[in-house]
């Protein structure tokens, strides 16, 4: 076999198996968790404000603030705020349980992000409705899964 023909053959054989892999669309883990959380109720966009920096230098500690538009009265308040990541090994990052005694539906913390991704915050209201907001974050140095 001519060297040129051999190389072309090898190159072609290697390229083929890559295609089906790329075509396999991965199911979004956040959507699966939202379905379990909402139990069929719609998760609407709005009322929630998730604040994350657009660019984070270090994924180990990223400042996060989430606030929800709510009067926070006994009749109408935020019961819980759930936080999800679509690229972390653990999708569910945290749940904050609030009540009418919070006075203000606003929680801040610092999160770990394993790579650039979209973070979703979902507010669970006392009337049973769900509201959400997302934020895209570009992470330069991802939170280490492994130090090696």
């Amino acid at each position: 076999m001519k060297r040129r023909a051999f190389l072309a053959g090898v190159g072609g054989a290697m390229a083929v198996p890559l295609l089906p892999g790329a075509a396999l669309a991965q199911a979004n883990p956040v959507e699966a968790q939202l379905r379990t959380l909402a139990q069929g109720a719609p998760v609407k966009k709005g009322r929630v404000h998730l604040e994350l920096p657009q660019l984070a230098d270090n994924g180990n500690s990223v400042a996060m603030k989430v606030s929800v538009e709510s009067p926070m009265t006994a009749a109408d308040h935020v019961k819980a705020i759930h936080l999800y990541s679509d690229r972390n090994p653990v999708t569910h990052m945290a749940t904050f349980h609030l009540g009418p005694r919070a006075g203000k539906a606003e929680v801040s913390s610092r999160v770990r992000l394993a790579g650039s991704q979209r973070v979703t915050a979902v507010a669970q209201m006392s009337d049973g409705s769900f509201w959400s907001d997302t934020a895209e974050v570009v992470v330069t140095l991802s939170a280490c899964l492994d130090e090696s």
Binding site: S85, H92, A94, H97, G99, E106, V111, A143, D146
Partner: protein
């Protein structure tokens, strides 16, 4: 497990006050390896709660997605003079708690 807490010493009744807390904890993710290649077991503070004069005003379920030395900031309405009680527990059952008092003026 030490913690640093910031709440106002005094507040007017009905005022929304800000509570800030930092707990010293590694929040080990369970995905890191030690020097000899063994996986380090996950150990994070999984539950944190804040009680104000005996009733719960805030609770959080945390995971490895929260940074080491977790910081939390939340709010509550000043209702009466008394005590804030903070409590947390990690995967290995280590518990921590802290108290702070507040004076509420009418």
């Amino acid at each position: 497990m030490a913690a640093r807490i910031q709440i106002p010493k005094q507040a007017k009744r009905g005022e929304v006050i800000e509570v800030r807390i930092v707990i010293q904890h590694a929040m080990e993710t369970g995905y890191r390896h030690d020097d000899v290649g063994h996986l380090i077991k996950r150990n994070v503070i999984n539950t944190f709660s804040c009680r104000y004069n005996g009733s719960e005003v805030f609770r959080a379920d945390l995971s490895s997605g929260i940074s080491a030395n977790p910081y939390l900031q939340f709010h509550t309405v000043a209702e009466a003079s008394g005590e804030f009680e903070f409590y947390w527990i990690d995967d290995e059952g280590m518990q921590g708690s802290e108290r702070q008092s507040i004076v509420v003026t009418p």
